[in-house]
Amino acid sequence: VDDDHIRRLAVELGEDGKAAVGGPVVDEDHLERLFLGFETVGDLSIERLERLLLVEERNDDRKHARRVQATHVGELVSREVKRDEDADLARHLANAVTKETPDDAYLTKDRRDSAWKIHLADSVLRASRVNLTRQPPPGVVLRKPITAVRSRGVSDSLPGLRGRPRSLPVVVVAVAFAFVVGVAALGSIFQALTVTERRSELAAVPVAARPSELSWASKREARAFRVFRSRISVDDRFALVFGKGADEVFLRLLAHFFFYPAVEVSTPEDADMVVAFGDGVEPPAGIDREVVVGRAWLGRRTR
């Protein structure tokens, strides 16, 4: 949570005109001072504003609040406040979390019993809202209407939480950033053209002739797999036997892929079918060679 985050929240609250603020009670004088202070500049005291705006029910706080100089309050509300400028505010901003309901958003502690304070962050938010709307904070009960208010007006950006001025390097880097993202987006559109072209090329080729997993195999092995697959049924159990020159890992994976749901067993004795690849492989006992394709053959157990 940071100043920008609070600013966003405040803008949203300002747009919606709703806020979940409890029922603090302040004197009209306080608000009058608030607005009078717009034209003055002084040193910052956030805690004083906090005491002014928040619940002023305890007498000692009220006495303290009345001692607050209008200049201090005014500065907080009208001038920019940066989180780094006041250690207490920075801490409270960091402690606060935002929660959003369908209708509203509010600042709160991360959990109800948290010991970390957030009231300064809350105060800044309310001060911003006061300045934005020229209204007392929602939920604030005025003892009597204020009749005299000096207003200096507000700028487009939310006062009280204005950021640091935008420097030329920042603008240049931001423009470069947007440019590169734009290039990436344009690249995607060109990619779509490539994709469409590739699809047209593929569509012109019959499915069986398209480069597939068998493009990894040699022509003879590829043909062998096509032929063998048509002869192995789903309930068959097959064993693989490898001779000279056969790539065992690759051919086993292809066999698993092509012959599934038929499953491999470890020994020919347990198998209904035997598939052999490579040179010099003879059928084991009880297996008749059924089909031969190049250096590969398929054998079936004799019944």
């Binding site: 100043d3 993202v181 779509a192 994709v195 499915v207 491999e264």
Partner: protein, 481 residues
């Protein structure tokens, strides 16, 4: 047409489940959040169905949509009833005040996104399986899950099938098996339609999340960049899982970054969902997820934000993957591609130190070749953060990149495979998550920094003219914005 309609119907059903899930999690069903809800629903629904199907396959319940869809809907319903009104708080959206021109630009970019996504879908439906991992591992697992519906068959338990890596998580193949059920057969030509749907859904989800924290036109441009990233499109057409891991990781890291700047529990919950999905797609997903959680920890250091949510998130993200690998170990299958004990062996590490340089060189080369725009966007965003003195979000991204990179290098260091072969066959793919994650998170960092600045000469409204009037509170003296 029949197959397309069947898959579309399945996709629609999963999207409806996703809609319920995002509502249950806490995104309000209001006009303000409508785009976010619509954008997040399809992918969230797919992932929830994927989680349910994975669990169902492990307990031998089957992965048919007839089982998975009602179970997923029931799960969402139970959470809805159980959670009642205690839903998670969403993050605060960036105020949107845009001209019609910018809104039209966003709409145009979105239309282009959908167009690119559909063209990728059509190509996927025509592309046969030709990449090694695509057919030997993922399609083979999907076929086994389609036929048997469980992980207790020989494909996942028999040592003869060890070459197909039966220890790999099955979130991705269960989704493919569901699409096979939808069309009524296992079709090697159509099996990679599911990754294309994941790509389109993730791109839309990226737009939906990003537009709440950056200008919507920028969010749409970034999402368009995601859906048409050439390396990603090619990878997913090969039915690889690396692209899917990258999509899940990128969204998870983005939402973790949103959580860092907003402290929204909902952002953290969604980040957990996507990062957990990444860990359940492929083992590298766990590397990126751990790196993201550690990076968040680093970014939070020095703040007073409680770390308990992050600790809980770590359990949620890594728990399912740990359970999966535990189940795989119990079945007697384990990944022997990596020797994790070697990490504690100084002799091995010193003897193989050259692998660090070779792996780094290969991965940096792959990043420069396929993700150069992402590198540029990231560097510019970090520079913007530096210029605007916004350290935390940038620190998160930079730390995540460094830790992820270090994690990948560590894997190559302890690889039992021949290192040159291992690098040649995988280095270009494992960096996808880095490239895509950085590309998606960079706009958040850039706009986060940009928003801390205001024009050097602010334009003042008419009401800014100093005036002194007498009024009553409630009757505003000068018009205010």
């Amino acid at each position: 047409v029949r197959e397309a309609a069947s898959i579309a119907l399945l996709y629609l059903a999963m999207s409806v489940i996703g809609l319920g899930a995002v509502y249950v999690l806490g995104i309000p069903l209001t006009r303000k959040w409508a785009a976010t809800v619509v954008g997040l629903s399809p992918l969230t629904g797919m992932l929830i169905c994927g989680f349910v199907a994975t669990t169902s396959a492990v307990v031998e319940g089957g992965v048919h949509p007839r089982v998975v869809l009602p179970a997923s809907a029931g799960l969402v319903g139970i959470v809805l009833v159980g959670a009642r009104r205690r839903r998670l708080s969403p993050w605060v959206r960036r105020p949107m005040r845009h001209s019609r021109l910018l809104l039209a630009l966003e709409a145009g970019l979105l239309a282009a996104l959908i167009g690119v996504g559909l063209s990728v879908l059509r190509l996927s439906a025509a592309t046969p399986l030709r990449e090694w991992d695509g057919w030997a591992i993922w399609a083979a697992h999907a076929h086994a899950l389609y036929v048997e519906g469980t992980t207790s068959g020989p494909v996942f338990t028999d040592p003869l099938y060890a070459g197909g890596h039966p220890e790999y998580p099955i979130l991705y193949p269960t989704l493919e098996a569901m699409s096979a059920h939808a069309i009524g057969r296992f079709d090697p030509l159509l099996i990679d339609v599911m990754p294309a749907l994941l790509l389109l859904s993730a791109a839309v989800a990226t737009w939906a999340v990003l537009r709440t924290v950056v200008p919507p036109w920028l969010a749409a441009a970034v999402a368009l960049g995601v859906v048409g990233a050439p390396a990603l499109v090619t990878n997913l057409q090969g039915n690889y899982a690396d692209g899917v891991v990258a999509l899940m990781t990128a969204l998870g890291v983005l939402l973790l970054a949103v959580w860092l700047v907003s402290a929204s529990p909902l952002a953290l919950a969604l980040a957990c969902l996507y990062l957990a999905a990444a860990t359940l797609v492929k083992a590298e997903g766990a590397v990126f997820a751990v790196a993201a959680l550690l990076a968040a920890l680093v970014a939070l250091s020095g703040s007073r934000r409680p770390l308990r949510p992050l600790a809980l998130a770590s359990v949620v993200v890594l728990g399912p993957a740990l359970v999966w690998y535990g189940v795989a170990k119990a079945r007697g299958v384990g990944d022997e591609s990596f020797d994790f004990a070697a990490l504690a062996d100084p002799g091995y590490l010193s003897g193989n130190a050259d692998r660090i340089l070779r792996a780094s060189d290969a991965m940096l080369g792959a990043l420069a070749l396929s993700w150069s725009l992402s590198i540029e966007v990231t560097v510019l965003a970090l520079l913007l953060g530096f210029l605007c003195r916004r350290a935390r979000p940038g620190a998160f991204l930079a730390t995540w990149i460094v830790l992820s990179f270090a994690g990948l290098v560590s894997l190559y260091l302890i690889s039992t495979a021949e290192i040159n072969w291992h690098l040649v066959t995988s280095a270009d793919r494992v960096v996808f998550s880095l490239g895509l994650g950085a590309f998606v998170v960079a706009p958040l960092i850039a706009i986060d920094a940009w928003d801390t600045t205001t024009p050097a000469t602010p334009r003042r409204s008419r009401s800014a003219t100093p005036s002194v009037r007498k009024t009553t509170v409630g009757r505003v003296a000068s018009r205010t914005p």
